[in-house]
């Protein structure tokens, strides 16, 4: 069940145009090169992975210091807070520049994922993982992050190639739903569920 959730979350991030596939498509269109598109996607996934892994590391370090209940409550509060901030703050990600090297693209993806709170959604999964040996929690968490990112990468690749080869970016006008708003609701919901489960 939890693994399914982790994979679905990865797919959700993969589908979101703002999380990278659209940037890969734009780079490909700009240079008329599918190779450039395909090169960009793993780099974007890498940035996403680092962002998610950071959350895993923090949870695992915190988990070795506090009780499972305290960890879950903390995680729930962070999720609700971040979700509300996303819903209420009217700021959007600011990054100026299109011509990026691959390392810069990875940095962009890391920042975008972090601002988005991509890794936070794994908190309910991570806090419910069997406590005990710290190393186990960390390696288990990293496995979760890896599976999540792989799902994100595969989804983004399929969407990017289909848009680049067949659909064209005009599809954005019809299909670019406000995923950020849905995501913010989901963060709040996940936080509430985590809090309810903890007390």
């Amino acid at each position: 069940m939890t693994l399914t959730a982790v994979i679905l979350l990865g797919a959700f991030h993969g589908i979101n145009p703002a999380m990278g596939w659209l940037f890969a498509v734009a780079r490909g269109l700009q240079e008329r090169s599918r190779d450039l598109l395909l090169q960009s996607l793993p780099v974007i996934a890498l940035g996403h992975l680092v962002s998610v892994a950071l959350v895993v590391a923090v949870v695992s370090a915190t988990g070795s210091l506090v009780t499972a209940t305290a960890l879950a409550i903390g995680a729930g509060v962070v999720l609700v807070g971040f979700g509300l901030w996303h819903l209420l703050a009217r700021r959007h990600f600011r990054w100026v520049g299109m011509r990026l090297s691959l390392p810069q693209l990875a940095a962009w993806s890391f920042l975008m994922s972090s601002v988005h709170g991509a890794g936070l959604m794994l908190l309910p999964v991570l806090t419910r993982m069997p406590a005990g040996h710290h190393g186990h929690a960390l390696s288990g968490g990293m496995l979760v992050a890896g599976v999540h990112t792989l799902a994100m990468f595969l989804t983004a690749t399929v969407v990017a190639v289909v848009v680049y080869e067949f659909l064209g970016v005009a599809v954005l006008r019809r299909a670019w739903f406000n995923l950020d708003r849905m995501w913010a609701f989901a963060l709040v919901g996940a936080g509430v569920i985590t809090l309810v489960g903890a007390v």
């Binding site: 734009a26 700009q30 990600f93 520049g97 970016v169 406000n178």
Partner: protein, 467 residues
Amino acid sequence: MTLWKPDPTFYPSPRDAAEAPPEKLAYVAAFDRSAQRPDALAVLDTDPASPAYGTVVGWTDLPHTGDELHHFGWNACSSALCPYAPHPHVERRYLIVPGLRSSRIYVYDTKDRVSPELVKVIEPEELGKRAGYSRPHTVHCGPEGLYVSALGGYGDDGPGGIAILDHNSFEVLGRWEVDRGPQYLAYDFWWHINHDVLVTSEWGTPSMVEDGVVGELLLGRKYGHKIHFWDLRKRRHVQEVDLGDQHQMTLELRPAHDPTKTYGFVGVVTSVEDLSASVWVWHRDVRHGDGSRWAAEKVITIPAEPASPDDLPDVLKPFGAVPPLVTDIDLSVDDQRLYVSCWGTGELKQYDVSDPFKPVELGSVRLGGIVRRQAHPAAPDERLAGGPQMVEVSRDGRRVYVTNSLYGAWDDQFYPDGVGAWMAKIDTESFTLDERFFPHGDDFRGLRPHQTRLQGGDASSDSYCYP
């Protein structure tokens, strides 16, 4: 404010934008030369099927006097779809309207209403203290927020430059330039968004323009004659390209809309050598290097027309000729047609610029002019003052709108018996004037019309990140 799907007026590519439905309304900035009455935003009906077609259907007076409205722009446009900082669920809803003389910036809401409604006023002190500028001019919606160029410094004549405003709150965030290099004069700006390149042009500082063109400065070749290239991401000056100091006033910048391209057109008002006007193309220089440097070359020259001194205003009597005075140019969204306003001779020219280095003139429409005073076919007995000046092209490239006022003090110099007030529409296919569309005279309630913005966007409002 936040939508579930992208604003329908945002288009990923210029090809998509050229398919956009025709505009039903046009917004026109109009100002009172005497500064006794408020300036206004006039709203024109541009729907040929409407009974009110060609008339003023909305009107909003400003809360102050003496603003001198000039150029203005939208709070959001197609650049919101750009992949590196997307915010596609904001609305194209607010007009950002600077007062070129007062340095105030107004924000007007256009949603679900015909006459725009005021939502915010940014006072000159906010622009001055936060960004160091005055006399705000061009507005573009872009990746970091709203970019507003300004002719003057704050408490100082210069340098002019670009200020950044927040997308949502419309607060002035600060000065855009980190390193301005040798740039001092300012006027227009735009960018090659996918190449992280920004381009700026030069007119003059407030003291050089606000009381009219200064003959000694013009003959002394002191007005702007350069264009500047910047790194859009690092906000640094990269290179200046000098067109030659005889080419006075490099004004409007029209880069290609196709984001894979790196060329654009700039209009020059007049050459002090022969009073001709010109249009130049800038491009990456691959003939003398690796393409990292920029170059510009003249691709259109429009000569002055001889005239009797008796028919000329004082400012031109010594020359015995009418200068074309190219004060605005506009490039169609598909980058195929360039429209060039000759405000002195009273002419709008249409060029095929499918090869930007070899423009071919396709047509010309005469209207007004310092000597000719060509009438509009809808009112054949009225000698028209002014000439085609601000020119705006619809997204589908089928319609062109022109207004006739340049700038208060300059109107008075070149058309001393009164510049009048009119707006006209040209159908680009036949390149003829639409006789059903000629709001003029009292339609503008004694104000002078300047820039036009078309509902949903036009050829000079949006930038696109996808080819």
